[in-house]
Amino acid sequence: MASEDEVSLLVIVLDVNPIWWGQQTQREPEFNLSKCLDAVMVMANSHLIMTRTNKLAIIASTCQESHFLFPNKLWKGDDVGGDDSAAPCGDGKYELLSVANDQVAEEMRALIARTEVRGNQTDTLLAGGLAKALCYIHRLSKQSGGGQDMKSRILVIKSAQDCALQYMNFMNVIFAAQKQSVLIDACVLDSDSGLLQQACDITGGMYLKIPQRVALTQYLLWVFLPDSEQRSQLVLPPPAHVDYRAACFCHRNLIEIGYVCSVCLSIFCNFSPICTTCETAFKIQLPQLVKAKKKKIKPAT
């Protein structure tokens, strides 16, 4: 059990891509966005009641923005009792849980209502959600000061496919998380994501592609609820094989041996005299010409 001094912060980044979720509801009506949100709230509530000092944040990422579902801007933090605007919950539930559930539901409704789907933006802006999560973690760790040990982790629930344009931002976020010792766990609902596999490998988190989406609650509680110290005592799904090969800039093929420009670090599969990204002309190494040695003719004695 974690001691009272340790604060464990869990940030859940939920991929709410309207296009993917719309198609998903048509494919499989038993698992739609509200079921997914129920599963996430079960896990969030479990996290909050594990230890009194545990903290939570939930961010939803759509195609245009990333928005904090919990805590929202007006929530003052720990004075849960003095919150007059919330209707007192009659069933004796821990007040923090009812506040969390209500806020998430309200913010989610507002988010979906104001999201407009435009034809050219179909990819989820997951890197933006992760960047906001890291800034939030940074602020809370500064606020708690030196007195309390803060361990943070981010859980990403991903539905739609990877967006190749976000590669650089994603890598920046991953390295920032590694520097801040923040674990990134990934729970993938549909297709494998190379970027998230790299993120989990570099930061030391768990990557899991869910075989049966209807059982999302079980997977969340089994694999992703325990924190990093408890994970060493459990038998968890084995790590995925991460493909760290680079993709060449000209054909987007994965290559094993390539040529790297020393100025801009772009990767090419074939030697070319000019780098297409930074337009530097390269010096070509010519083989050294060996001069034929003249043989000295020995004078006949």
């Binding site: 195609c63 245009q64 923005e65 990333s66 904090f68 805590p71 801007k73 933006q121 802006l125 890197a127 933006g128 960047a131 906001k132 890291l134 800034c135 939030y136 940074h138 602020r139 967006c163 344009l165 976000q166 650089m168 931002n169 890598m171 920046n172 976020v173 991953i174 390295f175 920032a176 520097k179 801040q180 790299q198 790590p239 094989h241 493909d243 760290y244 090969r245 680079a246 993709a247 290559i255 094993e256 041996i257 390539g258 040529y259 790297v260 420009c261 020393s262 100025v263 801009c264 670090l265 990767i267 090419f268 030697f271 070319s272 780098c275 530097t280 002309a281 390269f282 010096k283 190494q285």
Partner: protein, 393 residues
């Protein structure tokens, strides 16, 4: 003599009246001044925007540590040598974090001689172990700048032209004992395009000023330990490349990580090629690892240069780590909080904007608090709000 730029020394300018910085308000409290000073220390980061200057990304750096008699002095706690070595361990970590495909080597100089502590290598653990062992050496004699720079030059002159060759000297003594004319050596260093920088621990020494000016490096003398740390950290960022450094395409390999378990029929435990040279213990048999795509030699860690075929092996994230140097984030504009008309909350962390100034990104016009601004520029290297607008384009 040579025309040196005339700089007025600090002691020539008379004393500044440092007590005039503090101003009291009408109730006699210094709170406003103290807050101001705290705010300024947070913002003390100097942003040198190089703009479109080519940077030397692959660096070969030698660090020369002076272990002469003066390093036993107690003005840095517990003594100069221990303090320097501790800061150098931190420097090695930061250096490999910001420049993953570069190499570093260490040289010590004492008793009028110079010795190589570690060879040029890309693996931080070896250097940190060597630095830890050096804590016990006795400091005696005089350092020799000539021997140290000569030793560094012997290795650096064989390095390929597209890398940046650097030497960082940590000099605590005020004297040096050289077997030959150091000005000749400086000429050779200039021809070989080796950049020498010096961090002085005692006082300014004229020959160091000359060396750094001729080779294009920087010379600073420390004020205290935190200043020492700052000066060391300023050498972590890649320097602008000199105009004559060649640009070439470097052939590199990207090996796959093979994880095999004991149940695999073909998996046989084997040694990593990197352990063949180590005489001390720690060479372990391992089942999986990285196999060089050219010669199939096995290694346990990247980045490494294959000992068998000479191919540099890296993984794609290593190159990605350096991308933020190539595409640096612009500095945010600082506005006083009273003038800010938008939302009361920081766009990144959702905290209330309580500080004196509000920082706005010039591209997307979102507001951030001072903590987020520092975090974004030092660690994150991308604006969280601009990412959302990228999707819109």
């Amino acid at each position: 003599m040579d025309d040196e730029p005339e700089r007025a020394k600090r002691w020539e300018g008379g004393y500044e009246r440092t007590w005039e910085v503090l101003k009291e308000d009408e109730s006699g409290s210094l709170k406003a001044t103290v807050e101001d000073i705290l705010f300024q220390t947070k913002r003390k980061r100097v942003i040198e925007s190089h703009g479109q200057v080519r940077l030397g990304m692959m660096r070969h750096m030698f660090v020369v540590v002076d272990t002469s008699r003066t390093m036993d002095d107690h003005d840095l706690k517990p003594n100069r040598l221990t303090s320097t070595l501790k800061l150098l361990e931190f420097f090695v970590d930061e250096y490999f974090d910001q420049n993953p495909i570069s190499q570093i080597g260490f040289i010590t100089t004492k008793n009028k001689r110079a010795d190589k502590l570690t060879e040029l290598a890309g693996n931080p653990k070896k250097h940190i172990n060597a630095l830890k062992k050096t804590k016990d050496t006795t400091c005696l004699g005089e350092p020799s700048l000539y021997n140290a720079m000569n030793l560094a030059m012997q290795t650096l002159k064989h390095m390929p032209g597209h890398t940046s060759r650097e030497v960082l000297i940590i000099m605590s003594s005020l004297t040096t004992c050289d077997p030959a004319n150091i000005y000749e050596l400086i000429k050779t260093l200039k021809e070989l395009k080796i950049r020498v920088s010096v961090i002085g621990l005692s006082a300014e020494v004229r020959v160091c000023t000359f060396i750094t000016r001729e080779t294009g490096g920087t010379y600073n003398v420390i004020l205290d330990e935190s200043h020492f740390r700052e000066l060391l950290m300023s050498h972590v960022k890649p320097p602008p490349a000199s105009c004559s450094s060649e640009c070439s395409l470097i052939r590199m390999g990207f090996p796959q990580h093979i994880i095999s378990s004991m149940t695999d029929q073909d998996a046989k435990p084997s040694f990593s090629m990197a352990h063949l040279e180590t005489t001390e213990g720690g060479a372990e048999l391992s089942l999986g690892g990285y196999y060089c795509p050219q010669c199939r030699a096995k290694y346990t860690e990247l980045p490494v240069e294959c000992k068998v075929c000479g191919l540099t092996l890296v993984s794609a994230p290593h190159l990605a780590r350096s991308f933020h140097h190539l595409f640096p984030l612009d500095a945010f504009q600082e506005n006083p909080r009273e003038e800010h008309t938008g939302d009361r909350f920081c766009q990144a962390c959702q905290g209330e904007l309580k500080d004196q100034s509000v920082f706005t990104c010039p591209v997307c016009r979102s507001a951030f608090c001072v903590e987020c601004d520092l975090f974004i520029h030092d660690t994150l290297h991308c604006c969280p709000a601009c990412i959302h607008n990228q999707g819109a384009s």
